[in-house]
Amino acid sequence: MIYQGKQKIWSDYQKEIPDDHWFYVRSCIRQSFFPASEAHFVKIVRDLLGKDLYENPHHTTCGGIAYHSDTIPQETAMTIVARQFALMTEAGYKNLVTSCITSFGNYTEILETWREFPELEARIREHLWKACRREFDKPEYVAHASDVIYKLRNEIAERAKFRLVNHETGEPLRIVEHIGCHYSKMFPHKGVGGAEYPCVLSGMAESWGGKVIDYPERRHCCGFGFRQYMVKANRGYSVSNTHKKFESMEPFQPDVIITNCPGCPYFLDRWQYVIAEQTGKTYGKNGYGIPVLTYEELAGLVLGYDPWDLGLQIHQVAIEPLLDKMGVSYDPSKKYLGLDEKEIMKPGLPTVLKCC
């Protein structure tokens, strides 16, 4: 591996990311899967680093999932997106930051389509006016939230309480980075580092002390793939994609996987349980899996937030081996306590995958 070769490619795919004044739009499914991730994005960017990040409670789905599942036409998704732009314009913002990768891809694709076909943009403006009497300016910048954390990675590193280093051996942790397909595979120049060797997540991991693994199936889909999962009959295909990735990364003995997509952490995490049940195989050490984190969760750990406040207990794969390696202290007895340490139910344990 010639690291300088990657740096040369990265230099061709630098993206201008404003460092302040953002209109933040949340993700439909991340709020269900990893709600603490978005909460901690706001905490880190707005509360800790003092940036101007605005949210509007009237924001809705962007229509991306429906569009990619072929249940609505693109014009419908465009009109939904036009309304989000109207909310941003009314709030006085010009920089849009999305939590969801599919939203990011959806916004980017729509803006590029309008650039190519201005008559379509004019028609959507008319639809929006007829539907809700709103008008909008297009955003000057569209970024994914991982772009913002990438931009702020060195500020986070300066405040780090823990590094991505094995605190006993001093060795950097081995990080698998996995970007969502809709981040840069559609428009490589819209993602930091392009599509083949993206550096949005690897840049974070390296800034925080980790060592990124380049394994053969690094570019392969996580297994979500919309139709692979949403059509029930295809779910075996979804698992087989994930299985392929784990078989490929296994020899590199990764300590953690980080992702920037709503679907990827969910499927890379949950399918480890399914693969373990189906095949008896686990990919971490001593019967554990490989922890899969969002980039906000990883940033939160580096900054010293409590793992249970970060929501790491709702992952299928146990996070404790990673916490032990990083030297993060945690109270196992509080893992499944709810708000104000209220007793809530504990999940059942799988038969193969070791979870605690």
């Binding site: 591996m1 010639i2 070769g5 599509a195 380049d214 394994y215 053969p216 570019r219 590199f252």
Partner: protein, 338 residues
């Protein structure tokens, strides 16, 4: 006094044009930007289909240049069109007035790193056709393992590729790949050698025989399909993914060396020089001939001629034949009453 003719470019096209014009009684002035003559062929080892040493071809052309004025490490500052000819100002301060100028500016190889998915410049064991020729010539290359098991050749890298910005066929890569595959098989008889191709364009004399021999005598595997991506395994080998369109199946092969057949693009210097005299270029970037059937070596400007790969990808014999044609066209032009 003999008539001067300026030839821009000291590759095989420029050398042959100069030698032919000398034999026709002119005073050729050969201008070359680099510090040596021979162009790309000078860095090649052997040439298909007879495995002719490239150095012999260059030496043979050089031996006929006695009497030609040669300027090495010299660029073109500007060219002015005169009423009946051109004023060529060289970077060494020499100014030449000539009734005819021959552009023999050649080509440049596609930068293989632009096809990011193949990993040139990223993975240790990915090289180009030019890198391999240099290694054949005896220049050490640490990327080439001492005992490779599997060796792959990827055809059409930066050729016939809309995304790479070059839709043209580079014409010589199919045969070069077969030649290099045979040479590697000769060096490493136990290795399996694979060629990933779109189409095999084997149009020239003996080319088909060469291809059949590669299969029958050397056991080289030809897979019809493009490589989709290359990655590195934990032991530093390459995992190559491709589609075998004949069997209709995706394939994954571990390789110890992958050779990218970089295609031919027009030398960017050619377009800037040509623009000084308002000579045009085709959409492909190659210089535009007066007529692609009957006037390939002539430009749309009087007294400006083309030789070799500045108008499109060409083999070595085609280039030499075209250079002779350009010399003859210059001769006919200069002796025509004005």
């Amino acid at each position: 006094m003999k008539e001067s003719v300026v030839i821009i470019g000291g590759g095989i096209a420029g050398m042959e044009t100069a030698a032919s014009l000398l034999e026709l009684g002119y005073s050729p002035i050969l201008v070359e930007q680099s510090d040596h003559l021979g162009g790309h062929v000078a860095s090649w080892y052997r040439l298909f289909p007879d495995m002719t040493p490239a150095s012999e071809v260059v030496a043979s052309l050089k031996s006929r240049l006695d009497g030609v004025t040669v300027f090495l490490e010299t660029g073109i500052q500007f060219i002015n069109r005169l009423r009946d000819g051109y004023n060529v100002m060289l970077s060494n301060g020499v100014s030449i007035v000539a009734k005819a100028v021959v552009m023999a500016t050649g080509f440049k190889l596609f930068e293989a790193a632009k096809k990011e998915e193949y990993g040139y410049g990223i993975y240790d064991r990915v090289i180009t056709n030019r890198d391999l020729e240099k290694w054949f010539s005896g220049i050490p290359d640490e990327r080439i393992p001492s005992a490779p098991w599997n060796i792959g050749f990827v055809h059409c890298v930066g050729s016939r590729d809309v995304k790479a910005g070059n839709t043209q066929c580079s014409k010589v890569c199919c045969m070069t790949a077969i030649k290099q595959a045979i040479e590697m098989k000769e060096k490493f008889p136990d290795a399996e050698v694979y060629c990933f191709y779109m189409d095999l364009r084997l149009f020239g004399k003996k080319y088909e025989d060469f291809y059949i021999s590669a299969q029958k005598d050397y056991g080289i595997h030809f897979l019809r399909g493009r490589v989709s991506e290359v990655s590195e395994t934990i032991d530093g080998r390459l995992l190559v993914k491709a589609e075998d369109t004949l069997s209709g199946r995706p394939v994954k092969i571990n390789m110890d060396l992958l050779v990218l057949m970089s295609g031919m693009l027009c030398n960017p210097a050619a377009a800037s020089i040509a623009s000084m005299v308002k000579a045009g270029a085709d959409d492909s970037g190659f210089l535009r001939s007066r007529d692609n059937v009957t006037g390939v070596v002539e430009s749309e400007r009087k007294g400006l001629f083309f030789a070799g790969a500045c108008t499109g990808a060409k083999t070595v014999p085609e280039t030499i034949a075209e250079a002779r044609s350009a010399a003859l066209s210059v001769h006919n032009y200069l002796r025509r009453p004005r």
